[in-house]
Symmetry: D2
Subunit: 330 residues, 4 copies
């Protein structure tokens, strides 16, 4: 079960621990001891270079989990605002950085078998990150035995499935993955999905890796049966990217931003930061099924799924280089 966010309605809806941590540190968060601080039990560490900013957040106590509205565990985000314009060498660097993070989080080692679960709906571009990534990972489970020894040594067992969404199958995604995992018994599950974020700037620019599992459909649909060690029996690592913002959240962002620039609160009788709840009441009927998304989302999904597939391939098949993987995985 996922914890309820303590300040339901005050904190904008987000699947990113980074969003939540930043909100807690902001002036809008009235319960913070003081602006700019994080509650006990939450550690945050930032590394930054020209192309990518990596933030590691550790949520250590039940109290901290309640305060930030996220499960206890590790959340690593990569912020890559310019991925669409990356040079090939930047792109390769990013793949290696993601692989390194995954290797640490997955405690990857020789002989571990992995099941990749590509969550989301392949028919909806903004929700296709998972299936697209699955189509690009180097699936080896069925051919490992036929490989030359020299390669076989350096490749781990990787299987991959895109189960489809509830609306397409009539089956909870978690049931399909759990049923499959019981048959093939992987050592670890890596699940990829589109996420929700409260900030328009996050869209397609932020990759979150978490060791706490994932609830399919967070980004576009309703929350469902969680994929986690409790439900699946093996550790579940989640990789997510916010790909849309819901229109109500966006409207709130716009009003907030305007308030700030005009130097006056646009919604006087509503507590700071609380406008999201009220806006939802105002707008839900009109804007309910609308999302905000970049015009060039098709291109960006290609790039993001490629970098995530690269990261997974380099993490799982540790003995192979990217060009070796790509020449085998045609």
């Amino acid at each position: 079960m996922e914890k309820k966010q303590k300040n339901d309605g005050y904190m904008p809806r987000t699947d990113l621990a980074l969003d939540a941590a930043e909100f807690i540190k902001s002036k809008y968060y009235v319960e913070a001891a003081k602006e700019g601080t994080l509650p006990d039990g939450i550690e945050m560490d930032v590394q930054e270079d020209e192309n990518v900013k990596i933030t590691k957040i550790k949520v250590d106590t039940d109290g901290a989990a309640e305060a930030i509205g996220k499960e206890k565990g590790n959340y690593i985000t990569l912020e890559i605002p310019n991925i669409i314009n990356f040079e090939p060498s930047d792109f390769e660097n990013l793949s290696h950085k993601l692989a390194e993070i995954l290797r640490e989080v997955c405690k990857m080692e020789k002989g571990k078998s992995v099941l990749i679960a590509g969550l989301g709906n392949w028919n909806v571009t903004a929700d296709s990150l998972g299936p697209k990534t699955v189509s690009k990972v180097f699936v080896s489970r069925h051919i490992k035995q036929y490989m030359p020894d020299e390669i076989d040594e350096r490749v781990n067992q990787l299987a991959a499935i895109s189960p489809g969404v509830l609306g397409i199958t009539g089956i909870e995604t978690g049931e399909i993955i759990c049923g499959t995992a019981e048959k093939i018994k992987p050592d670890i599950i890596i699940a990829i999905d589109a996420l929700a974020s409260g900030k328009i700037q996050r869209i397609n620019t932020t990759i979150q890796v978490a060791d706490t599992g994932i609830s399919p459909g967070s980004g576009l649909g309703n929350k469902r049966m969680k994929l986690s060690k409790e439900t699946m029996g093996v550790p579940v690592i989640a990789i997510g990217v916010p790909t849309v913002v819901d229109a109500v959240t966006f409207a709130g962002d716009a009003i907030d931003s305007l308030s700030e620039r005009l130097g006056k609160n646009m919604i006087g009788d509503i507590a700071p930061g609380g406008n999201y709840r009220r806006l939802r009441e105002y707008f839900d009927e009109d804007f309910n099924d609308l999302v905000v998304t970049p015009k060039d989302i098709d291109n960006v999904m290609e790039k993001l799924s490629e970098v995530i597939a690269n990261g997974i391939n380099l993490c799982v098949h540790q003995g192979l280089s990217l060009s070796e993987i790509n020449s085998i995985n045609c």
Copy 2:
């Protein structure tokens, strides 16, 4: 050349004559003689039944064209808020209504040859209305001579092309269509494209038919070389549907709507209705490449392209029923 809208920045950006006419009649339009009236030279006629509201707008004088910011000509809109839930019989009725309107606007008669131009980008769902429609019309130009006489009698020559957008081809859409039209010499061109509207409620619920031609890419991109009788040499009928709203316009809508509900103007120092221009200044950098779109846009594009293709097929091949067309056009 398209006329500039007289109140540039005041009137929200829209390709729908209906939006513009309604804006002119609204309290925001300060120059209107009085609220609720239209300038001389603009006629508006409304017919409505359970499923569809049809509005015919005729812009008759240069002055009227300037006031409404649209070319002189005829604009017919079909408002169909519930198309996604239509029963098959409603769907067929709508197809016949659209066919009737097209027949009138195209002055369709036996022997007329038609070129269908599906504008827009097939790789971007929200921009794929034109190419999707082209894939569903009954192309007969190349087989008319081989048909049994009995059918041939009832079928007109129809050719169809999806030229792709400038970003894909490096060529103005108008150049490809004009070059092709010079070769095959159709009597009339019907162009289908996604449009822009200033109102979120218009998205995927409004079909506009106009006898004034069309500028490719109005909806999602920049305006380009117009397709019209002047540039193409034959009449150009445009069929358009708003499929997205740009994010800045949406933010303005949200702020307006909130202002109204709170009973106070949210942007005090900006003239009523003028917030669009100011908002654009505030938000353009942040929200520039974002659009607002329904979650289920893929489904809706299927339905809309089918109804438009049906309408065109019934209009052009006047002697055939819908089921005859569909059984030939497999």
Copy 3:
């Protein structure tokens, strides 16, 4: 375990019981008591009208199963040579006929829950029959509880999954379906797949319904873990259509056909009908990865998946008409 065909190498490779029965009755089948008869334990019943020929074959004894090279059970084939040119009304009739057959084979009744398994590879047109059908069935399992009572009464629980092929997932198709079935516990599984046939005339013109289960990938790939009552725990009904012929079989067909027309055996020193085994030796290296397929296979896959989805929908949701289903299942 699937039975070996008794005359391995003599009987052309086929998944159709009808092919096998016809071969047994032919002059090539040297062990037949006499030309034109079937062994004891095999019953064959034929009904035919203008558009479709329905053959019911019952394999009743172990000896008969060995002779025909097919499991004991019921095999119903619909031969529809002209499906691509069907009028809408013929198409609807065919859907109802298939539904009737399925209802009988599935022993369908109110309250039975069904899992549809769309086998095959969605990336390969000739192998996409299963996934395409899945995309068209009316999935109701997740929404039954939310439906108006009046509709709910007439709808059974239907879930659907396209697991992908071994080469894409690294997982046996049977493992995913079995794992899923253990979670959602359907009363029956209906699996759809492309089949192999030894006859070029069968391609895309023959639907086989069998109550004996199915081995995924029969048509294009290698035989895999069988889906059957033994492996899945519930009855497995298989619906299959031959969509390709492998190139070696085709070459054999061509040589046979030529022999017949020239009135002399082209391969003198090879027993009649035995050329398939020898041809395979001659040609396997050269022609191994080649298949023979119709040019317009994309169109035909659309039609066939639609008729099969219609048949399933009418079978499972017995209280609804085709037009009711299509208007709900948008």
Copy 4:
């Protein structure tokens, strides 16, 4: 007008000059002065390395053109039997070799503007080589003016169009390309299309570059209005790859091959090599709409379109490296 092949019915149907030249040199070609020689006016030059065999054929006289059944001009073929297993570095080498050949054939130089025409049907995998290549070339015509001078210097104007096939548009492909070329006035047209070959081993392993133009639809459909300097007004360079073999030709190949292995002619009363004409008579009705194609054609189309797009990009934008092009052309 394309020349008729002199020995109509004797020479297998092929779009490859290489096939035709090899046939003329073979024992089947009864009119050859002697086996192993080519008629006067045909020059043939072969270069070969580990991965690719390059054959340049020059047809110089009318007599030679008649003998070989191909227009006067230059035909260069690259034979790459293992492209599907190429290492990335081999793949890049091949791209550069193709670019070099194109540069020579196109007489490419700074300032030349190019129109790429991707012939064929994007809905049919085996016929999608042209449209797929178009989607991968670096289209620069519309952005050249906006580029930094430093890049602009090194980029030529490139436009690209996939006109679709006659069955989709009702318009001859040549009419659309000619009409477009008259508007944008390129210095040269490069057309890409699927070809026919009489040899199964050619499928997806042979690239032909010719300076004689091309007839759209050679590979899968009927021959149409030729694209050539005569019809388009500027030189037309054709790049083609055989992607299917028609089933009748394949049957003939199989029978020939078997005849050879059995050491006796299978069709005694038909002249050597003449079986193709007779076979066509035997088989046309049955096998008419069938083609033979590899199972993994989807993968191969990706690879081939990428190598051709690379070759074109390196040829046209001479100042840029492959990695520069790919990082700009995202």
